[in-house]
């Protein structure tokens, strides 16, 4: 039963925050009620649960989440968790009450309560989680939500910066904490809090203890604004006061020290712990208090005082003594109470007087006596005046500071630091009260201040009352709860301690007196100076946030850009170079280990073949060298190389490849020529001056090219001269006719054995064709290639110059005779295509070669008579050819599934026809027909799409002319 109540404590706030979303944007009352009831309910729940943990035991509820990773939703409530849960929800309730009056109706109330409730839930989740990872999760959630809460008034620059800084610092710490927790998990083998707490010795003994410790401490210090990560807290004061009252006094900043206390049994007690934690604590204690004295912003003063008080707690925890831990826990509670009340008081003052500047505020006591009194009591508690709760914990602190724990200078410095810090605390507390409520009557306030409404003042009253009661009769009030909390943390090590106000004349008492008197004297002596001080001497120069900004800008902007520029590029050539280099590197092992060549089939030496390749290689090199300035020459030379490649295929018994390569060759040439029309000539004049650097670059590229070439030569030669392994090919040769029904093994592979590849391949072709089409629909020619080509303009002028000859006659006359032959070749090409297609299965050819041949036939007509002429005679719908072809191929493949066979299973048999004889019928042939159709469509689409640009260009020109006319 209790287990579910435990869940409810966390579930409730989150449910409520979801409910808040459903409310209208500007609904103040309902939202307040929702939040109030929720927080109160949480208080009630924890009260209900007190009995089950008061015995010193702990209440657990474990829900498996990711067992294999040791991540489970384990809620665990012991005394310590309980007292914090109560504190969080209690103060939460008071803050709700307060903000009902503080947050104005203009602000987006819904968002405020949404975030507030979510934060409460996360905070409760954090203190109640029994699994370290879960703890980290809630920890990060609090960071994120505090970011949103600080940035609540995001129209102000201060709020944005404060929020950003807070999140950056705390989230960084959170990630460090995660790393630390992971290491702890690695050591312990579990993230379960119980297990971890039980295995303290193992952790402290482990070699990874120090890194783990440092990472966890990073988390704690950033969260609790400990030196040197304290700077974010003062900047977070741009948050609405209720937020500060809640986050920066009782909850968020307490998370760090809570964690330290939580893991105290596991991590504390080693010299590393003592040194690091002690240093940070002491520094924060003194520095925080010192800087607090010089603040002119009301909330700034409180913020620095918070840093100092948290430093005090950290210092106590650093000592590693049980009593220190007791004092620490006790002070956590005390600080929460008086600091929350002070923040709220500050909020009231700001609210009433319209400013938070200590220099402008003064003499408010006559306007708001009650608030004034409350503030005075609270700040007295902050200063550690007897009969107030602050005094008790500070006495304990002094006692611990005096006692020696580990022989080190820290130890000896501790008492002095303690006194100094408290003296400063006294000073700034006095200054806080004096400069606000006393002194000359106010000159110019934005508005006339007066007491706030009772319910706005009520939370302050309640908390101050708590300070008093605890301060006077601690044993009767906080005593038992503190005992439970302490024992739940320290377990067996729980020491004897007394919460009496009066311990007799002891050294700690003396120290308090010194601190009180000294602080008072300091204020008397330096009060006016503090009032006028712009920045604090000595430490005023070191401004955390400025350092922070510089570092962040340097790392997250300048360095990042530098890395991106130095180790990256946006140009193509370097990328290509890297790619080739990577490929070469990949092949290096072969040569490193010495590449051996075999003797397979190496006896043959054919001079004609060698001569052929001399031609081929010369063409290739020449093409490479001409491609820059003589595009047409390069194209022709490329054709030469292609031709030699085809011949090689013929020579080495690959007729299909030869046929296919040939038709592709032809179409590619036409294609590139079509493109060249839109690439204006490059004249050698444009050659960029070849400096030494340029020559070096070329040399580097040349050597890369040579290296790549050599590598390919060596590898291919090595393979060719090795005896082939037993390949899957034998199967294909044996089964091609008997089971595949075709004599041309390659074709049978293409349409049957590996028809699936072909299906994909034609999809690629179709896709590319569609891409080309799409791209050209949006094609915009370069300005220098919009007008007619030079030749046409010249011929045009010739025609006009010649009497009795209409312009453009040359064009017509040019094709006058050739066109006849080109047209009569059309049916021949169709027959050729049909031949290649139908014979494909038994002889070289096949759907692809046939398709390209057919397309070439179409192109021939376009070249002969021009686009317009052809298209009012032939309506080719390439897209339909593509779609139809794909569907045909796919359905032929799918048909076999109707017979229960896998996709693409082919069937063939010989049909006996009268006076025709045996006719082979293979389903693969239909598949090949689909291929044919697609290839025709795709090829025609690509070439004609480019060809159409000329017409579009003309249309564009006419359009412009029309523009000029009217």
């Amino acid at each position: 039963m209790e287990r579910y109540l435990l869940d409810l404590i966390i579930v409730l706030p989150f449910m409520a925050c979801l409910a808040a979303l459903l409310l209208p944007t500007d609904s103040r009352a309902p939202a307040t009620w929702l939040a109030g009831v929720t927080t109160l309910a949480c208080v009630g729940l924890s009260v209900l649960l007190y009995p089950s943990i008061s015995g010193g035991g702990s209440l657990q509820h474990r829900i498996e989440w990711i067992p294999s990773l040791g991540l489970s939703v384990t809620l665990r409530m012991d005394g310590f968790a309980w007292i914090f849960a109560t504190l969080v929800s209690g103060i939460g309730f008071l803050v709700v009450l307060y903000s009902r009056y503080y947050i104005s109706a203009e602000d987006p109330v819904r968002r405020f309560y949404f975030l507030f409730l979510a934060f409460t839930g996360s905070m409760l989740g954090f203190v109640l989680s029994g699994n370290l990872i879960l703890m980290v999760i809630f920890w990060e959630l609090t960071s994120i939500l505090s970011f949103l809460l600080i940035g609540y008034w995001h129209h102000s620059q201060a709020a944005r910066d404060g929020a950003r800084m807070a999140l950056t610092v705390t989230a960084t710490g959170g990630l460090a904490l995660l790393a630390g927790v992971l290491i702890i998990g690695h050591i312990v083998g579990s993230y379960d809090l119980e297990v971890v707490l039980a295995s303290g010795d193992a952790i402290r003994a482990h070699q990874l203890y120090v890194p783990a410790l440092i990472l966890v401490l990073l988390g704690a210090f950033t969260k609790s604004a400990q030196f040197p990560f304290h700077f974010w807290l003062p900047n977070a004061m741009a948050a609405p006061t209720p937020v500060s009252a809640f986050l920066h006094s009782a909850t968020l900043v307490k998370a760090g020290v809570f964690l330290l206390a939580r893991l105290w049994p596991v991590l504390a007690g080693t010299p590393e712990w003592f040194t690091i934690v002690g240093l940070a604590g002491m520094a924060s204690l003194v520095l925080g208090a010192y800087l607090a004295m010089f603040q002119q912003d009301l909330k700034g003063l409180l913020a620095y005082s918070t840093i100092s008080h948290l430093g005090l707690i950290t210092l106590l925890l650093s000592l590693g003594s049980p009593l220190g831990a007791v004092a620490a826990i006790f002070h956590m509670l005390n600080h929460a109470t008086f600091k929350a009340s002070l923040f709220m008081a500050a909020g009231i003052i700001d609210h009433e007087a319209g400013t938070r500047d200590l220099r402008r505020l003064s003499g408010l006591f006559r306007y708001m006596p009650i608030t004034g009194t409350l503030a005075m009591v609270a700040s007295a508690a902050m200063a550690g005046v007897p009969l107030l709760n602050g005094f008790l914990s500070k006495e304990m602190f002094f006692a611990e500071a005096v006692a020696t724990h580990a022989e080190s200078w820290l130890d000896t410095a501790a008492p002095y630091a303690a006194v100094l810090g408290s003296a400063f605390a006294v000073t700034y507390s006095i200054r806080f009260i004096h400069s606000i409520f006393f002194g000359m009557p106010p000159k110019s306030f934005p508005r006339e201040p007066h007491e706030p409404p009772f319910w706005m003042r009520f939370p302050v009253m309640f908390l101050v009352l708590a300070c008093l009661v605890v301060g006077i009769v601690p044993g009767l009030t906080i005593g038992p709860f503190l005992q439970v909390a302490v024992s739940s943390v320290l377990g067996a090590a729980t020491p004897q301690y007394s919460l009496a106000v009066w311990h007799g004349f002891t050294l700690p008492l003396a120290m308090s007196t010194v601190a009180l008197v000294g602080g008072a004297l300091l204020y008397l002596w330096a009060g006016d100076y503090l009032q006028r001080a712009e920045t604090a001497p000595l430490f005023g120069r070191i401004q955390g946030q400025r350092v922070f900004e510089r570092v962040t800008v340097a790392i997250s902007w300048r360095w990042a850009r530098l890395v991106e520029e130095v180790f990256g590029t946006r140009r193509l050539q370097p990328q290509m170079r890297l790619l080739v280099a990577a490929a070469i590197a990949a092949a290096i092992p072969v040569f490193a280990s010495g590449l051996s060549f075999g003797l397979h089939g190496n006896e043959r030496m054919d001079f004609a073949f060698s001569g052929l390749w001399c031609v081929g290689m010369i063409c290739a090199v020449a093409a490479a060298q001409q491609a820059k300035f003589h595009r047409l020459a390069a194209l022709a030379l490329l054709g030469g190389t292609g031709l030699v490649t085809c011949l090689t295929f013929v020579w080495l018994s690959a007729p299909d490849l030869a046929a296919t390569q040939l038709v592709v060759e032809i179409v590619t040439t036409v294609l590139i020529l079509l493109g060249l029309r839109w690439l204006p000539k490059r004249s050698e004049a444009l050659a960029e001056p070849g400096g030494t650097l340029d020559r070096l670059r070329r040399f580097r590229d040349l050597s890369i090219a040579v290296l790549a070439g050599t590598g390919m030569t060596a590898i291919s030669y090595a393979i060719m001269t090795r005896t082939p392994p037993d390949t899957i090919a034998d199967f294909f040769v044996e089964k091609a006719y008997s089971d595949g029904g075709g004599r041309n093994v390659v074709n049978v592979i293409l349409v049957d054995f590996r028809g699936f590849d072909t299906l994909g391949e034609i999809t690629v072709l179709g896709t590319v064709a569609l891409t080309v089409f799409a791209l050209l629909r949006r094609f915009r020619p370069a300005p220098d290639s919009i007008e007619r080509p030079e030749q046409q303009r010249i011929q045009w002028s010739f025609d006009e110059a010649e009497p009795g000859r209409e312009a453009g006659a040359t064009a017509a006359e040019y094709m006058y005779v050739p066109a006849v032959i080109m047209q009569w070749m059309f049916p021949v090409v169709i027959v050729l295509a049909a031949y290649l297609l139908l014979r494909g299965h038994d002889a070289p050819g096949g759907g692809f070669a046939a398709g390209v041949a057919m397309a070439a036939g179409f192109i021939l007509q376009y070249m002969a008579a021009g686009t317009v002429w052809v298209e009012d005679r032939l309506r080719i719908l390439p897209v339909f050819w593509i779609g139809g072809g794909l569907l045909l191929a796919a359905f032929t493949g799918a048909a076999s599934m109707l017979f229960g066979d896998p996709f693409l299973t082919s069937y063939f048999q010989y049909a006996e026809l009268p006076l025709v004889g045996k006719v082979p019928l293979a389903s693969a042939a239909v598949f090949d027909l689909g291929v044919f159709s697609l290839v025709v469509g795709a090829t025609v689409l690509m070439l004609i799409a480019i060809a159409h640009q000329s017409i579009r260009r003309l249309r564009a020109v006419r359009h412009e002319e029309r523009q000029q006319w009217n």
Partner: protein, 113 residues
């Protein structure tokens, strides 16, 4: 024969690589075309070289693998040819579009140095 073809593959690769490291889009196209020749020949050579052993079975259709060149690399090359053709076309059109839109035939759309 093997040596000749190996050298051929090497030279084609070299010229192609040289071209794809050049700054002009047209050089890129020609370079990739040359490279795809080289790669096709490379794939083809992986099946070892045979003269007069085209994998086209006789009338009886009986196939003794020893008598024929390895058909698998040929099939692969065929696919590679098709895809190479398609991609060449695409690259060409893209470079036209780039030429039109950026006004430069530099691969980066603007002159470096």
């Amino acid at each position: 024969m093997e040596l000749t073809l190996a050298l051929a593959i090497g030279v084609l690769t070299g010229s192609g690589v040289w071209l794809i490291l050049r700054p002009r889009t047209y050089q890129l196209v020609i370079g990739l075309a040359l490279l795809s020749y080289a790669v096709n020949l490379f794939i083809f050579s992986m099946g070892r070289l045979r003269v007069g052993a085209a994998p086209v079975l006789g009338a009886d259709g009986a196939g003794n693998p020893a008598d024929y060149a390895d058909p698998v690399p040929q099939a692969l090359v065929l696919t590679a040819i098709v895809i190479g053709f398609a991609t060449t076309a695409l690259l060409l059109v893209v470079l036209l579009a780039a030429r039109g839109l950026t006004g430069s035939d530099h691969v980066d759309g603007r002159e470096s140095h």
